[in-house]
Subunit: 428 residues, 2 copies
Amino acid sequence: MKCQIVSIGDELLLGDTVNTNASWLGQVLAEHGVEVTQVHMISDNGLMIKQTLRRAMRESDLVITTGGLGPTHDDITKKTVAELFDVEMTIHEPTLKFIKKIFKQRNIPFSKSNYYQAEVPENCEVLFNKQGTAPGLWFEESDSRLAVLPGIPHEMKGLIETEVLPKIDALTDGITRRFAFHIKMAGVGESTLSDEIIGSLHDFLSDDLTVAYLPSPQANTLRINVQAKSEQEAMDKTRELKKYIYARADDMIIGEGKDMTLSEATGNILRENKLNISVAESCTGGLLANTITDTPGSSDYMMGGIVAYANSIKTEQLKVSEKDLKEYGAVSKQVALQMARGVATVMNSDIGVSTTGIAGPGGGTDEKPVGTVWIGFWSTNHHFALHIQLTKDRNINKQRTVAITLEMVRRIASGVETMPYGLKPHFA
Amino acid sequence: MKCQIVSIGDELLLGDTVNTNASWLGQVLAEHGVEVTQVHMISDNGLMIKQTLRRAMRESDLVITTGGLGPTHDDITKKTVAELFDVEMTIHEPTLKFIKKIFKQRNIPFSKSNYYQAEVPENCEVLFNKQGTAPGLWFEESDSRLAVLPGIPHEMKGLIETEVLPKIDALTDGITRRFAFHIKMAGVGESTLSDEIIGSLHDFLSDDLTVAYLPSPQANTLRINVQAKSEQEAMDKTRELKKYIYARADDMIIGEGKDMTLSEATGNILRENKLNISVAESCTGGLLANTITDTPGSSDYMMGGIVAYANSIKTEQLKVSEKDLKEYGAVSKQVALQMARGVATVMNSDIGVSTTGIAGPGGGTDEKPVGTVWIGFWSTNHHFALHIQLTKDRNINKQRTVAITLEMVRRIASGVETMPYGLKPHFA
């Protein structure tokens, strides 16, 4: 099954928005046996939209558009599609009712442009959008299908998952398609992982079975692609390869599945071991607590955190010694160790972790340049700190510090003895 | 000057790579008066590349391709372009010399596939690539120009900046081009903003002067596009429109510029007024502190925060009354008010804010469904809470709560009397 994606919006061509929708669609569709042959990014221009859709529907079995369904006058996708098929617009009552409900709940007056959101071309099947005011539209015309979806990523993804994929699965049932398995690994660099830890996988691979490394700040993904007729066949074909990868990289594998995060993996281990945690953050400024609490159900093991940006918070709330703070500075092994113990004491948690560093862009010295970070760990059995030297980029430094901290916790709670990136623990 | 971008590579269609090259090009080209009318993402397929390039060159003044210039067998862009123009390949000696030097420096044997990297179609002008082994290619044929560039982002960007932009600037010198101004507004929905607050801008607009609303979780952007010969002329042409927008929406305008964030705008007002702030977070779980500290220099006004996930942290660290916690529940006006005052007291800050709510997906009740959130504010002059009803989505609920909290702080610190989204303050 061949598909073309049409991403609509001036903001895409001006570069104000990066087209992450297209790459997400490419991945998901490939997993459901659909080959994306082209992506078109075009402006909110009626003539251009019509030309592109007409050609794309002639050339492929499925066309998916995203964008241009908002309530403002520059959003013209819906009207243009009605013109393309030469049909009238009609009000979709369930959508109108739903939109009115949303506005009532949020105490916002219902305006004329919102009413327009409930209008749909009369030849479409409505894909009900539970997460927003723009319904998705599904058309079957000639030998092709057209899905018209909003550009807001979570609304588009919701409609793909609940409405569009079931239609695709029904159309591709029983044919050979592509399956993907994702193995996630943390605390290791991509090239170390591929060159040294896992090494050549040549003997396992073929045209039907390939692998790709996908790096990301929290965890590297090893994706296995396999051609098969069913999920069972796909699993059978990849069994030996997966066994080999686990034998080589067991300690750093945090879990499987495209959506598995380091936060979730660490949380699962804490929950299994009936451990709870609290965090004391300086340089990460709340990102560590936020990453932990992004995982639903994290209140099972997350007690809370203290963001100690000012030094007075470190001494008063976290009981860091004023003398040590003065002698060694806020970014030091001593302060990291005391922050970790302090937060665990104050919050009465099994584990306390801490971050203190120079996130940048300013604040560096010759001795402690931007990117210098100490991470602390405290539990009744362990008390140590890790030292890392990161980049000049504030956001990257915050993200990497959080990733290393979570992987440190995951490894200790799992009984793994090596630290992420082979870092050496420093003791008091 | 009209341009089409052709991004070549299977990895783009499979979604393994997000096409950040296209958005970067869109921004840079717009700033140099070039309008990107279409972006095509296509696979490493000779026929597809030729078809797409032929059409794009017919339709526009400039075509830029990225990708498919590597040494491996799946990279066929260069060979395909030679076929398109029906010319032979020839060795580019300076590139060959440069590649051999790189390999010698890195102690890598020079192989046949590397020799191929120095071959170029005989009708091209070579754009010398100082950062890699694939030279850029420049063609002028019929009435159009074609730039063939590598897909590796820093190589592509280097070639654009040193080789392609000077050619574009020479072509567009003194001609009318497009300028963009961004006005950012917070605490208001996109449709309320466009329909009620700002209303029709019809009298100001023309083919040369258009506006677009770009919604985002933190702040809506109103982008003004104007055709002009210089920045001064662009400013003159937009003066009346901007004056009108400011007159209509002054209270909700947080600043100008594409990169202005709500966090930065709020921080600037706090710094100007010599106010500092601390935050007590339950449902936002650290995202509020993290958003504030994402802004460099935020240590000027950010004291710190307490993430009070467990109820014991609320009573012990934030001095929330145990009785009220039991009587009204953690998600209540009383607890929000006490958390805000508590964190300001404990951290000795001018302003304390708090968030408590049911982020979801679980934990809702009939009386307090998922998405119920209370936000607290405390300063010596103000003590109140806002009540909002959000969605079923955990991440959206966290993000919206943070956006409303920051905008609430910005408005109070700016002396604005209305609250975001017209919310009514609830007092103790």
